[in-house]
Symmetry: C2
DNA sequence: GAGTCACCCCAAAGCGCTTTGAAGTTGGCC
DNA sequence: GGCCAACTTCAAAGCGCTTTGGGGTGACTC
């Protein structure tokens, strides 16, 4: 069923039918209703390609998700982010196109995405500190919003980010207040911007108390459970083990917990753990009594906001870049407690 | 840069340029090279919409992911599945469009997807036992492949599935061999087909040893960490606690582990845990010495195979439905051991 | 030198929609 | 009754590509 057939069926011209369907004022209310009913009855829905060709708008947003080529790892945060974004897209009638790209062919990927013309805008995931994609996209005349920031870049662009530095500064201060001084940081890969900022926050908090960060206590890797386990096990086995762990991911924290238990210690009493919590739907940390004390910020909400920002920019092409900083909540759970007395 | 401009630039007709680019034989090798070089130099890449309109093929696959409306949960398996599928799409030059749909508007979603004509095929995620989407799609003349099966349906369609029944039967038998008789099953929601099949496998294994399943030991919920924790804690607190847990998800198993520790017991000695492991990139269970004894089957590989199947069906429309059953490996880890002696 | 192939290449139609510019129809007013 | 404005509706062009059905050109035969 296409426009032509529908128009023929109604005894109207394509123009009128098209206008009726798209809410143009030049059509009488009566005709509009008649058209709308016929469209529904005959199960007509306009061909998106043709529509796109004619209007120049694709009514689709591209998400390019980079897969870390070293570890072939898919960011676990992705599903929830997408779910949030799609709420916004759904309302606005936009589709979502995904491309997964290794690190190398990214630029090309974007260029193609644009040339092929099937997206009106792009969401950039997982920015690195110096992310080449951003200047590249700026030159491309395609609206985009970055989920995160690129610290090394000093050009304007739209982003939404969690206040990583602040969150980790607060988290570190919280642990310091409890008397911990040897606080390990199990971070993500530090060329990732979020990880870099978290470390900054951590160091700032230490600095304010006159403490120098101990490189031996800081690790940055892909945030898996085994990483948390291995790192925590190693650190706990040293002469001067940390009394608290700061983790960049709930998954890593779970690994830390395992190592703690295996060392015959108790989390929250002998060793404290504070983790960031992206509030993922399948990895709940508990609402009333969270397992882990955590800095919490919903990635899903970030997705929704990012999508809304992007849609605004598509609607108003001249618009200045827009930024949005989310503050994480500090949620007190059962995994932290006062530093154990020196023995 | 579009075809017309490129053709003008080369002093050729659009036809010739198009043919040269698409590898038709009517073009001299020399012209072809000249065209290809110009295209690259001018950064030309054909407009996907126009191409789609002209050819009738969208060069895109639709993934419709249902979000459980009750829990607003995104399937954690999704990211890895997609990553696998996109390997296949990339090679074949296909794109991937995502739509997220609540349970209600699914049929409509598919119909629209087809009418709008921007996908050539669909991957169906998360089938339920009686899944209305399958008969619906069969009537739609749009190739599709289901990730999983719908047990209540007796119509032919293409699917790829893990042998859930077999895996859980083996897992249960393994635990029975170790002397466990009270084995709890912490399953997914049992209207989901995979969960249903897993339960069947579990019951079969018990049946072969003349044991009847104890309803008190069986739970089916959304597979979160808190679910595993809560269920295990409750069950361990009963008069006749289970000596082993069979879990449908690594995440749930992590919750079980927490409950076991909290009860002052040791996993693998006092209580055994055997879980299914989808081999997710961010939730590694360990390679050489896995934490959990597990039935392992890579969801990422399933994604790749599903995509390849679908592409085949798109290429050869007449093709009969094709099915693919993956067998899970049984991986021995540290979470299982002989049933403790009765006291 | 005319006829016959290959070999290249082209003009134009068509995919399904939007949108421009114009035309037909009404009703109201002088 | 005639004219204008307002309201509806329409035909046709155009979005960027593929593809059909022709044609032109040169080399090769007889």
């Amino acid at each position: 069923m296409n426009l032509k057939q529908l128009a023929a069926h109604l005894g109207l011209s394509q123009t009128t039918v098209s206008r009726a369907l798209n809410g143009y004022p030049e059509v009488s209310e009566q005709t509009r209703i008649r058209v709308a009913e016929a469209a529904r009855a005959l199960n007509y829905s306009p061909n998106a390609r043709a529509k796109g060709l004619a209007t120049g708008r694709a009514m689709a947003i591209g998400h390019v998700i980079p897969i870390s080529t070293q570890h072939e790892m898919v960011n676990p945060v992705f599903g929830d982010f997408i779910a949030g974004a799609s709420e916004a897209y759904l309302k606005a009638g936009y589709d979502m196109t995904l491309s997964i790209s290794g690190d190398e062919d990214e630029a090309d990927n974007y260029r193609r995405l644009k040339a092929k013309g099937h997206v009106d805008g792009i969401i950039v995931h997982g920015p690195k500190m110096a992310d080449g994609r951003i200047p590249f996209l700026r030159g491309l005349d395609l609206p985009f919003v970055v989920h995160g920031r690129a610290s090394d870049l000093d050009v304007p662009y739209s982003w939404i980010d969690m206040n990583n530095a602040r969150a980790f500064k607060r988290a570190t201060s919280f642990l310091l207040d409890l008397g911990h001084t040897r606080i390990a940081l199990l971070n993500g890969l530090e060329f990732m911007d979020f990880a870099y900022r978290r470390r900054i926050g951590y160091e700032e908090a230490l600095g304010e108390r006159g403490l120098a960060p101990d490189p031996a206590l800081i690790r940055g890797e892909e945030m898996t459970e085994p990483f948390g386990y291995r790192a925590a096990a190693e650190l706990l086995a040293t002469d001067e083990p940390p009394t608290a762990f700061l983790s960049s991911s709930l998954i890593t924290a779970i690994g830390i917990r395992r190592a703690i238990h295996e060392a015959g210690l108790e989390m929250g009493r002998d060793v404290s753990v504070l983790t960031h919590d992206d509030d993922l739907s399948y990895l709940a940390n508990g609402r009333d009594m969270p397992i882990f004390t955590a800095t919490r910020s919903s990635v899903r909400e970030a997705g929704r906001i990012a999508a809304e920002m992007l849609l605004r920019h598509i609607a108003e092409p001249g618009r200045d870049p827009e930024t949005h900083l989310l503050e994480a909540q500090l949620i007190i759970g059962g995994s932290t407690g006062p530093a154990p007395k020196q023995t």
